[in-house]
C-alpha cells in the first residue's frame, strides 16, 4: 500500500490518543518485557571470551571475535618513537577533546591522534541534549537516583556520584567557552525532560547539542595549538611490560605507515561499537565506531565491564531506505510524540527507559502489529505531527530543525507525516573499567567516554553520555597532566602482545581476524 494511505490511521486516531494516559510499567512487568524481547537477552548472539582479562564472561559474538583478534603489528619490531608527549589522547570526539584541552591547560604537552578528522565522531551527532541538574526543583541526588534506576541498579556508585556532582561546573566551562545552550526568558538554562528522568534536566542547543559543543571544542583545540594527528588510527598500545602503558602505535591512513608515539600517559577516547552491526542491527553511529579502544585496552590487560549490554535506541529511521538506522531524536517523545502501531494504538509510555521502549516496539512488530516496508524492514509510527497540535504550529520546525532537514531531503515533511521507526544499535553501555580518575587497571592508561564502562550500568539514560564525556575526559586529562611532571617516560615494549599471542595460541588456532577493525568493510568487492 502507499505510505500515505497507511499513515491515515495515525491521523484518524490522534484525537482519541491525546486523551489517553499511559502508565509506566511496574518493575516486574518491565523485567519480563525486557527478558522476552530485548536483544541483550538473545542467548544465541552471545559467547564467552576464551582468554584475556574477562575470560569466561559473555559478550556478543561480533565483539568477542575482535577482542580475541590478533594485532596487525609484529611484536619484534623496533620501537623508535616518531613523537613524544606527556599525554597522548586517542580519539577526537567529545571525550578526547575535553581530555586534551584540560591536560593542555594543566601544562602538559599533548598529542591528539584521531582516525578521521578532528570531531568526526558520535559526539557531533548528539541531538537530545546533556543532563545537568540545574533546575531548582532538581538535585544531583535525584539525577543519581534516576540514572541508577535506568541502569538497573548496576551503575558504579562512585563514578556516578562524580558525574552528577561535576555536571553543573562542566556546564559553566562550556558556557564560558561560548557554547550556546537554550535559555529561558529569565536567562536561566532551559531544561527539557528526557526519557527515564523524573525532572526536566536536559540542556540543549536546539537539536544540535553535540554539533554546537563539538564546533566549540574543536575550535578550542586548534586555538590552543594542540598537536593533531588526523587520519591516524591507534592499532596497538605500548607498555613497559610491567603493567604500565607508555605509548601507542598508530597507523597513518593516508600513507599506511606506522607511527610510534611515546607518552607518559595515554587516554583512550575512541567511542562506541555501532558499526559492528551487532545482531545485524542498523546503527546510528559514525563511520569509525568500531570498538577499537576496547581491543587495544583488552590486549594490554585492562578489564572490561558490562560488555554484555548494548543500547538499542527505540527510534531509528526505517523509511526512507536512505536513512535506515539514522536516529530520530528522543526529543520528539520528550515533547509528547506518541508511538503508534499498525492498529492505531499506543502500546507503551513513550518516556519509559530506552530498553523498555525498544523492547515494546520489538514486541509489537514480532506480534504482527508493525508496518512493513518492501525492503523487508518493519517498524511502528512515531506521531510527529502531534507536536504541532499540542504545542502550536511550527513547533517541530522550531525545535527539531536538524531532523526536519534530514527528512525534507527525501521529500518527507515530518510536521505533517508521522515517521516509521524501529530500534537501532546506538550505544555501548559498558566498556573498559575505570576508576574515578578515569584510569583503568593498567597504570597510566585512561579511558574516557563511551569506550569506558561501569558508569551507566546496564542501560544509559538519555543525555548522560554527553555529560560523561565532559566529566571523565576532564578527569583523565587533569590526572594524566598532573603526573607528567614527576614522571619519566617508560620503556616502549610490546611484551604484552607477546603474552597475548601466547595465550591465544593456547586456546587453539587463532581466528585469523585482525583487530582493531578501524573502518567497516562497506566497499563492495567488484569483479
Amino acid at each position: 500500500m502507499n505510505i500515505h494511505a497507511l499513515q491515515q490511521i495515525v491521523h484518524q486516531t490522534r484525537d482519541a490518543r491525546r486523551k489517553q494516559t499511559f502508565p509506566r510499567l511496574s518493575p516486574g512487568d518491565r523485567d519480563q518485557l525486557i527478558h522476552k524481547y530485548h536483544p541483550d537477552y538473545r542467548a544465541s548472539a552471545y559467547r564467552p571470551l576464551r582468554f584475556g582479562p574477562n575470560e569466561g564472561e559473555k559478550t556478543v559474538v561480533e565483539l568477542a571475535t575482535l577482542l580475541e583478534g590478533d594485532s596487525p603489528i609484529d611484536h619484534r619490531i623496533d620501537l623508535i618513537p616518531h613523537h613524544q608527549a606527556d599525554v597522548l589522547v586517542i580519539g577526537g570526539g567529545g571525550a578526547g577533546c575535553a581530555a586534551a584541552l584540560h591536560a593542555q591547560e594543566a601544562g602538559a604537552k599533548v598529542i591528539l591522534a584521531t582516525k578521521l578528522r578532528l570531531g568526526d565522531s558520535n559526539s557531533v551527532m548528539a541531538q537530545g541534549g546533556m543532563q545537568v541538574s540545574v533546575a531548582p526543583e532538581d538535585s544531583p541526588v535525584t539525577h543519581f537516583l534516576d540514572t541508577l534506576k535506568g541502569g538497573h541498579m548496576e551503575n558504579d556508585h562512585h563514578l556516578l556520584k562524580v558525574m552528577v556532582e561535576e555536571g553543573p561546573s562542566i556546564a559553566k566551562w562550556l558556557i564560558d567557552l561560548g557554547v550556546l545552550f537554550d535559555r529561558q526568558a529569565d536567562g536561566n538554562l532551559h531544561v527539557k525532560k528526557g526519557g527515564g528522568s523524573s525532572k526536566p534536566r536536559l540542556l540543549t542547543c536546539s537539536d544540535y547539542t553535540g554539533l554546537e559543543i563539538m564546533r566549540v571544542l574543536k575550535d578550542e583545540v586548534i586555538n590552543r595549538k594542540i598537536q593533531l594527528l588526523e587520519f591516524c588510527a591507534a592499532v596497538e598500545l605500548l607498555g613497559d611490560g610491567d603493567g604500565t602503558c607508555t605509548g601507542a602505535v598508530l597507523k597513518d591512513l593516508d600513507n599506511q605507515q606506522y607511527v610510534v608515539v611515546a607518552a607518559k600517559s595515554v587516554i583512550v577516547a575512541t567511542g562506541g561499537i555501532g558499526r559492528l552491526h551487532i545482531q545485524g542491527f542498523p546503527t546510528s553511529n559514525h563511520y569509525g565506531a568500531t570498538g577499537d579502544g576496547l581491543c587495544l585496552c583488552y590486549r594490554i590487560g585492562a578489564k572490561l565491564s558490562h560488555i554484555d549490554t548494548f543500547q538499542y535506541h527505540p527510534s531509528g529511521a526505517v523509511y526512507p531506505e536512505q536513512l535506515v538506522g539514522a536516529l530520530v531524536t528522543e526529543g520528539i517523545r520528550s515533547e509528547g510524540g506518541h508511538l503508534v502501531n499498525a492498529k492505531g494504538e499506543r502500546f507503551v509510555n513513550e518516556l519509559d527507559t530506552r530498553d523498555v521502549v525498544s523492547s515494546s516496539i520489538i514486541r509489537e512488530c514480532e506480534e504482527g502489529r508493525g508496518i512493513r516496508t518492501m525492503s523487508g524492514r518493519v517498524g511502528v509510527w512515531l506521531d510527529t505531527p502531534l507536536l504541532d497540535m499540542e504545542h502550536g504550529p511550527g513547533t517541530v520546525e522550531k525545535h527539531f530543525p536538524a531532523m526536519v532537514r534530514q527528512f525534507e531531503r527525501f521529500g518527507i515533511d515530518i510536521s505533517k507525516e508521522p515517521v516509521l521507526i524501529y530500534p537501532t544499535l546506538h550505544y555501548q553501555n559498558g566498556g573498559v573499567k575505570i576508576d574515578t580518575n578515569s584510569e583503568t587497571e593498567v597504570n597510566n592508561l585512561f579511558v574516557a567516554g563511551e569506550a569506558s564502562g561501569g558508569l551507566h550500568g546496564r542501560n544509559r539514560l538519555m543525555g548522560n553520555s554527553l555529560l560523561d564525556l565532559m566529566v571523565f575526559g576532564k578527569r583523565a586529562g587533569l590526572t594524566a597532566a598532573a603526573r607528567a611532571g614527576s614522571m619519566k617516560q617508560g620503556k616502549l615494549t610490546l611484551k604484552h602482545l607477546e603474552r597475548f599471542r601466547a595465550e591465544a595460541k593456547k586456546h587453539g588456532d587463532l581466528s585469523g581476524v585482525v583487530s582493531p577493525m578501524i573502518l567497516p568493510a562497506y566497499t563492495r568487492k567488484v569483479g
Binding site: 553543573p168 558556557i175 564560558d176 535559555r183 559514525h286 536516529l327 527525501f410
Partner: protein
C-alpha cells in the same frame, strides 16, 4: 512473524532496484537508484577514508559537488544525505586550505572590534551570494557575513546553529572570506561575552561546593541494595 499484508508499504524501487548510470569523478558506474552518494561510491568498489565521518548529516566531512543530467548547474550536497539519480555526476570536495584565526575566546577585550583584527577580510564581502548558493544547509551565508560585520552577533549565532562546517562556502568566495569560520568566532563570542550568565547554574555550583546535599548523599550511600531499589522505585 505473523503479518497482515495490509500493513505493507509499496516501494517497488527498493524491491527491484532500477540500475542507473552515474559518474564519479568523471568515471561511469552503474549503481542501484536511490542509494546515497556515499553508498554509490562503496557500491562502485571505491574505498572511502577521507570524505566520510558521521554518516548522519552532522559533520560535514562528505561535502560533494554534483550535477544532474543535462543541467549545467553544479550544486553542492552532503554525500551521506543525498540519493543518486540517473545521469548524476559528482566529485567529493577536497579539503580547502582556508585560514582560521587563532584567539583565546575567554580573554577577548572587545570581541566586536576584534573581529576586524582576526578576520580583516570579513568587511570586504562583495555581495556575490555564491556562499549562500553553495550552502547545503540552506543558511543565508551572505546575510550572516554582513550581520557579523555590523555587530549583530546574536542573529549570526542563530543563523549558523545549523552549520556543519562542511566548508563549501569558502572556495567560492571571491573575497577570500571563510564565512563558516567567521560565524564560528562570532557565535562563540556571542556565547562567551554577550549572553547573560545563568544565575541558577551559579547557585547550584555553590550549593554543591558548600555541601548542601551532603546529608542526603550520606543517607543514600549508606543504604543497602534493597533499600536503594525501593527508594529509586519511589522517585517520580
Amino acid at each position: 512473524m505473523t503479518q497482515n499484508d495490509d500493513n505493507l508499504i509499496d516501494q517497488p524501487e527498493v524491491l527491484k532496484p532500477r540500475m542507473v548510470t552515474i559518474e564519479i569523478s568523471g568515471k561511469q558506474y552503474t549503481v542501484p537508484e536511490g542509494i546515497t552518494v556515499i553508498k554509490a561510491m562503496w557500491y562502485a568498489g571505491q574505498e572511502v577514508v577521507r570524505g566520510v565521518g558521521c554518516l548522519g548529516g552532522f559533520c560535514g566531512a562528505c561535502a560533494t559537488y554534483y550535477r544532474t543530467k543535462d543541467d549545467p548547474k553544479v550544486k553542492t550536497c552532503l554525500a551521506c544525505q543525498t540519493a543518486v539519480q540517473d545521469g548524476m555526476s559528482f566529485t567529493m570536495m577536497p579539503p580547502f586550505p582556508a585560514r582560521k584565526a587563532i584567539y583565546d575566546i575567554r580573554t577577548l577585550q572587545d570581541p566586536k572590534q576584534d573581529l576586524f583584527n582576526l578576520y580583516p577580510e570579513a568587511p570586504l564581502c562583495r555581495n556575490c551570494n555564491a556562499c549562500t548558493e553553495a550552502c547545503p544547509q540552506k543558511i543565508d551565508v551572505r546575510e550572516g557575513v554582513w550581520k557579523a560585520v555590523f555587530g549583530d552577533f546574536q542573529s549570526v549565532s542563530d543563523m549558523f546553529m545549523d552549520c556543519v562546517m562542511c566548508g563549501m562556502c569558502t572556495p567560492v568566495c571571491i573575497a577570500d572570506i571563510a564565512p563558516n569560520l567567521v560565524a564560528l568566532y562570532v557565535s562563540r563570542a556571542q556565547g562567551a561575552h554577550f549572553t547573560e550568565k545563568p544565575a541558577g547554574l551559579e547557585t547550584r555550583i555553590k550549593e554543591i561546593k558548600e555541601g548542601r546535599f551532603d546529608d542526603e548523599w550520606n543517607r543514600i550511600l549508606s543504604m543497602n541494595g534493597q533499600e536503594l531499589t525501593e527508594l529509586c522505585a519511589k522517585v517520580k
